[in-house]
Symmetry: D2
Subunit: 277 residues, 4 copies
Amino acid sequence: MCRWLAYSGTPVLLETILYKPEHSLIDQSLHSRMGVETTNGDGFGVGWFGPEMRTPAIVREIGPAWSNRNLREIAGHVRSHLFFAHIRASTGSAVQQTNCHPFRHGRWMWMHNGAIAEFPRVRRDLALAVDPRLFRQIEGSTDSEMMFFLALTLGLEEDPPGAVARMAGLVEEVGHEHGVEYPLQMTVAVTDGRRLWAFRYSSQGDSRSLYYSTRVETLRSLHPGMSFLQEVSDDTRLIVSEPLGDLPGVWNKVPESSYGVVQPEGDALMPFTPQAA
Amino acid sequence: MCRWLAYSGTPVLLETILYKPEHSLIDQSLHSRMGVETTNGDGFGVGWFGPEMRTPAIVREIGPAWSNRNLREIAGHVRSHLFFAHIRASTGSAVQQTNCHPFRHGRWMWMHNGAIAEFPRVRRDLALAVDPRLFRQIEGSTDSEMMFFLALTLGLEEDPPGAVARMAGLVEEVGHEHGVEYPLQMTVAVTDGRRLWAFRYSSQGDSRSLYYSTRVETLRSLHPGMSFLQEVSDDTRLIVSEPLGDLPGVWNKVPESSYGVVQPEGDALMPFTPQAA
Amino acid sequence: MCRWLAYSGTPVLLETILYKPEHSLIDQSLHSRMGVETTNGDGFGVGWFGPEMRTPAIVREIGPAWSNRNLREIAGHVRSHLFFAHIRASTGSAVQQTNCHPFRHGRWMWMHNGAIAEFPRVRRDLALAVDPRLFRQIEGSTDSEMMFFLALTLGLEEDPPGAVARMAGLVEEVGHEHGVEYPLQMTVAVTDGRRLWAFRYSSQGDSRSLYYSTRVETLRSLHPGMSFLQEVSDDTRLIVSEPLGDLPGVWNKVPESSYGVVQPEGDALMPFTPQAA
Amino acid sequence: MCRWLAYSGTPVLLETILYKPEHSLIDQSLHSRMGVETTNGDGFGVGWFGPEMRTPAIVREIGPAWSNRNLREIAGHVRSHLFFAHIRASTGSAVQQTNCHPFRHGRWMWMHNGAIAEFPRVRRDLALAVDPRLFRQIEGSTDSEMMFFLALTLGLEEDPPGAVARMAGLVEEVGHEHGVEYPLQMTVAVTDGRRLWAFRYSSQGDSRSLYYSTRVETLRSLHPGMSFLQEVSDDTRLIVSEPLGDLPGVWNKVPESSYGVVQPEGDALMPFTPQAA
């Protein structure tokens, strides 16, 4: 399992979010509170959009995030208005760059926490369901990358929530064919550089934790003394596997079987149900 | 493309073969003479059998062999009577441990130099031909690993030359279906810990170089002063992508479209023809 | 801080000690119970003596031990009668191979848990105390390597306990000159391939944990059902940063300010006091 | 030995300089024409200044540049008006991040090609000459980093050309004391984020190659069809170990024993002579 965060809003140095909070993602790499594993040291990745960037830049490495100096350098010098960060705890698949999140396809970035249950048994059937033109781009061996390519096959670029629902439906169908009771466990973030979607779902109805930050306007009235809140725009939003600290009123659980979208035309939170692919 | 060597015979420190010859494999990692690339710095691997070892030990890394201190340590302290070593020059697939040779399945080790032409286009069809129970063990993204799993699917453990011939036939058939004129280019080494097979073949009839060492008995009479030759047994044999030096009479070309077997019951050199799978 | 173990006795596969115990060193890399940090993921090393080996082989890597496949391969295939293993939690110095333990000089291997307090402040003065001919061999930036080279300078190869006492005395003297109240914190293991010494000391009299295993003869009568104990010789001994499991009667604390020696002529436990260098 | 380039001028994506030229630095990592080694695969680094950056960002890795995906990502997405890039061919010191260039101290960046002759013999004496407050910041084991800390000790931040001259004088003095005939071989680049200095010198008067680009104004009249030249400002300048291609009129040798400065108040080329420290 893993931990991740997604940021959208006022351009900030990545370190503002990745390193500075009390229980930052980097802290979580050593001391996760809500993860299945307390240590997430099997690789990491950051992906960011900047001004004039048509595709996100993605930097991934196989060692732990906590000791990586290049991540520290990038976080201290790169600004972004929309970025993903992910720390990995492998549950068996190889520790290699192509298994690190986020994954990318054109403008699209994808990251995941969770698992396809008994992935080795269902991997081949899922691979067959990937569009043959996309199949050749699969480089790693994770369930997470497979989910991304299935979602792309099923229309991610036109209808993200629908494609993710069809991907989840397909994973459950194939799992059930192989006698797996609860085939899917996931929190997923995906973006095209403009909008950001985050999904929380598991076949068992007992999904990994996922939180979104309260509206900045509300936070300002709750915490009038926090200068950081004065500097960020009203539409700034964070979605995280676990809260970055204990500040009251900041973090809200994404409900079971639901998804949110962060976008210029207004954020929204909606129910999520897998669909037949 | 890549360079490799396979050793069978009197137990020696790996460094005797890997580092000490004039134009050793480590030297070839920086200055290959016959390879498609002069530099082979995209990972390496060694696999060895020792006394009482039922499976080979395999150490693989993603950096260049020439500067790797752990390889130097292992080579200077481990003895083996049967070992493989491989240095990699990636032609596009990721530089990651699971793409480094040798590959292993139980007692079996496999390494390869060459390529399946236009592998991204044919990869999916070849993947479908792998036994589903084996498919789940594929960890990397190379044509070389795919060839190994196809050969395993097609009977490698019972009939190595036949299985490799069927694998080659299948690769050519699938390639032709995709309009590839010359689908396969390969030199392959494979062992079960007792016997060692080496294949040289390409669809175009213009295969990568492969050499085997002259019988030790003959070498002793050619080079009576070489103490190394006094110390190794008569059945010691090396198969290499390119000669480890310029000593006259030592190296013999493996002919086009042929394979050799090194085994206790006597070595042999035979023609190789792909077969319908 | 770090965790380590030292083994001397019947030749075993390294994995017997490194991976198989309930709370093995590999488990400790993720879940140390007694270490200053619970995670020891900033590199690792193993060093072993085998038959006919005049120097130990040392394999060190900068990633976590728990996910390292090469360590798993080596541990599963290499036998040794005398070996060290170390997992590192950096307290600031760079995560690099030359900062991983064990360190080697000829036949001698050294590993350490602890710290020289305020090392950046005293580092230069300590470096000046190293024999100029040895100074050029310092490759890393840790206090641990510096302690090794100071001990070598002060006679480690002739009188290990005396040299370590003089090294500790020097570190305390230099520390006090710089106003450091408690300059030294250490558990150290050192071997020449025949004997093995382990030291536990700290200026404050509050040293990191260190344990040695009970005599095999006694363990056999305590745990008559354990087959492992039947297979190892009477002189087999383990020294560890923390117990490898909860089996009653197996582990004994090395007392404060003392050292032990494991050797063919009989093991011994003695008091340790720093000496003027 | 190594290869490097320094860029100052119109902000560009790093890839414009690092990857796109015919004989780019990345190409030189595999096929250097003028280097002592044709392969420079023992680590690399880039350091860049961007808008609002008070210190440069520095990303360094230990593998080859040619296969590094993170370097490709950064180069394709980061713009800079002043950056350094370096590819390393180790002549013996460890392949580790702290031995990769550029080195940094506050706003200052430093990179080097060449060597202090017989560095192991003179290393200790040179280390003693480093300001004790700076000594503690030395993390690696290269002559290049030592030269940087000596130059800092000798006034780099106040008088760069003078400090480098005194550093060179000291290296020669210490070398001669140890019986070294030609103690120093160097091309060095150093910047404070505003100005950029480049030095070419060797004790033997036979220095490694160094080139600077012709004034953009002149190049435009030489190559009126090159669109790149229309886009960059008149003060854009490149300094490189070897030309990035064969375009006539672009590259000029930095003369023996001289240095250049690139700065807003006008570039200049001057003689360089070591001075007594």
